[in-house]
Symmetry: C2
Subunit: 225 residues, 2 copies
């Protein structure tokens, strides 16, 4: 589905990010949901390097994504997934199916992703700080135990909460964020689950659309730098 | 509102937790929502010390809360807040009010609480590990910056997302979890916000109900221990 400058839905993303983050920025999540549902959207690109001060009034921490639909604005990728999911069947309307999807959606955001944040701190952002190499072993061990329970809950199921849902968009992208560790690769059930997610045409399109602008918007090498 | 053993809603909580956790276990959140809405609930108490293996089939990490309403079961306190909020006006049905509450609900769970988890690790659970005292300064500094932006977004508003909502139940309990640091006390806007939340009769009742069983269920001192 091509990006549509006249679409009612607008997704805010970064015009460029450093290579380690390319393909992993969280506007990927609402992009993926839109592609699954067949909802056209337009893009608003802002600078991650020189974050515009006005943007903090729309997103308190200057993060992406931010999403608009007509007059309605929201932030936090989890909120965008609930909003989009309710439009297109990726969040069931009621009963146990809805409760199961909501449970796993929050599990991805609050019981799995926080460990990913600290792994990213210890291996990327703060890797040269004295605490990072000391913290990493117990962090990986504790996260591994959490992932063992996740793998057990997934079992042989294709998706984490019944039919494919916003819980899978969240969980697959959360697990994919630690591709640089062995935590997922060591657990075949989770590895295959992530691969199933990445094989969906909607994921591939969303990823391509996030990546599309990075090369053209890469910072110029300054002379003598 | 007294706990009602015949209520349709069931909240699973721990029969006892160590003193540092008493009053801070996350079944407080759906208890608080039920009290605000006036929904009767019953309790199911399990051991935190000797976590029953069967419980992991209901909650993948053995955590609380777990919530049932009739035949419908769910876990993750965020999911219980969405479920309860939709019944009683604490989550608006549509438009910008709903988008704003969902944004701040996920902000509490994914942009603020993850830092609280790592602060708890560094100051309680892993405080004797070599990395903890090295990690703490930058963790507190980064969290402080995040809270500065939160305080700016709150401004002079009484609540974080319009009328009192499930976003406040989440954000107040998340901020209250770092009472043992100065991070909230140093920011009068956030300090007053947390105090406003704690002053609500529904919060006080929920807190009293969580605390009620701890004394009777405290582990017996074993002779010679």
């Amino acid at each position: 589905m091509p990006i549509d400058p006249d679409a009612t839905i607008e997704i805010t993303a970064f015009e460029w990010v450093p290579p380690f983050a390319q393909g992993f920025v969280r506007d990927l999540r609402p992009r993926w949901a839109c592609e699954e549902i067949g909802l056209a959207y337009r893009e608003r690109l802002i600078s991650a390097v020189d974050r515009p001060e006005w943007y903090y009034a729309e997103q308190p921490w200057g993060q992406v994504p931010h999403l608009r639909e007509g007059e309605i604005a929201m932030f936090e990728s989890g909120a965008t997934l609930v909003h989009l999911g309710e439009k297109g069947g990726l969040l069931p309307k009621d009963g146990q199916p809805r409760a199961t999807v909501l449970s796993w959606l929050f599990a991805a955001y609050n019981s799995v992703e926080p460990a990913m944040f600290e792994i990213a701190n210890a291996t990327i952002f703060a890797r040269k700080q004295d605490w990072a190499p000391l913290r990493l072993p117990s962090l990986l061990e504790d996260t591994g135990k959490r992932l063992d329970r996740l793998a057990a809950a997934l079992g042989d199921s294709e998706w984490i909460a019944g039919d494919f849902s916003i819980a899978d968009i969240a969980m697959v992208t959360v697990l994919r964020d630690i591709d640089r560790t062995e935590l997922v690769a060591e657990r075949p059930g989770l590895r295959d689950y992530v691969e199933r997610g990445k094989a969906r045409p909607a994921f591939k399109q969303a990823l391509a659309d996030q990546m599309r602008h990075f090369e053209a918007n890469a910072p110029k090498q300054t002379a003598g730098a």
